[in-house]
Symmetry: C2
Subunit: 186 residues, 2 copies
């Protein structure tokens, strides 16, 4: 479930979200995920449990919202001067982050407390925005570029599938092979 | 968690698994997933709740095991006389089954109650076995064939990614585009 209502930066709703998210992150590192309860999060965040239930549904949906927030990219993709270099660098970083133990835990949390798929959709939208930025920059340089959806199918999907379903090589060489396949037909 | 110990067909362990799985499937259709409890499943299956806890862990892990069993293919891939035709047909059927409402629910259940990833690994192994069968048959015919992992990356992964993360076209045309990309470099 997405946080609702939509938050206005600096408004009460945004402050509640910020304090609840911070409480979850702190408590997870203090007592672990297994020990976490909604009343515990509410007490730490200085809100009532019913504020949390009303806005997030239950603990798993709250953990999902926090996980998606952690999966939000913090910087624009690096500009290395060419489409190939930019996509290689982005794919390597994406693979490193997602395949790391915290990345795997966030992906799992994001999917688990997400009955309507909107949090998983936010994860995918973050990746699409980053790829869009790389492709737009390349188009401005005059390079030919593939569709964003094609890059998602050929680079993002295989990485996420291996993380979720199929243990296997998840290294720089693999990221580069996927990018090469995405750029093959240009 | 995988069922343990390993079952011998017709042995007590196999009979327990069969009766518990049947009880879960029947009760899910009678009372829904939300109303399900381990004691309810145990009573219907004629076993003690502790048998279930000992073997499956908790309800979510039991649901995951049942879901993986539902995702097990029941037939060998059709033999249509060529690699391309066989892979097209297999990919279309895989897409149809996984993207259907029951398929989506089973994939979700399989991932949720699966702390160590072994049930997700079984799902992936089922797909790999089917692809292996198609590729081996083509090799016997004298056709050149790609690696199984390449077909998983290029055909299975994008379908599963769209089901889990990114709503979008999941139709026959899409399945064929993915197969074409998997066979492009032969």
């Amino acid at each position: 479930m997405s946080p609702k209502p939509m938050t206005r930066p600096g408004g009460r709703s945004a402050r509640v979200q910020e304090s609840v998210h911070t409480a979850v992150r702190d408590l997870v590192s203090e007592v672990g995920r297994e020990g976490l309860t909604v009343p515990m999060v509410a007490a730490r965040a200085g809100v009532t449990p019913s504020t949390i239930y009303r806005r997030w549904g239950d603990l798993q949906e709250l953990l999902s919202d926090v996980a998606v927030e952690r999966l939000r990219p913090e910087t624009d993709p690096a500009d290395l001067g060419s489409l190939r270099a930019d996509l290689d660098a982005w794919a390597e970083q994406f693979l490193d982050e997602m395949a790391s133990p915290p990345g795997r835990a966030y992906i799992r949390d994001a999917l688990l407390g997400d009955p309507d798929g909107s949090n998983a959709g936010r994860c995918s939208a973050y990746a699409a925005e980053q790829i869009d930025a790389v492709l737009n920059r390349a188009a401005v340089r005059g390079e030919r570029v593939p569709d964003t959806d094609l890059v998602i199918d050929r680079v993002v999907a295989p990485i996420m599938y291996r993380i979720l379903f199929r243990p296997g090589k998840l290294n720089t060489e693999y990221a580069r092979e996927l990018v090469a396949n995405a750029l093959r037909q240009l």
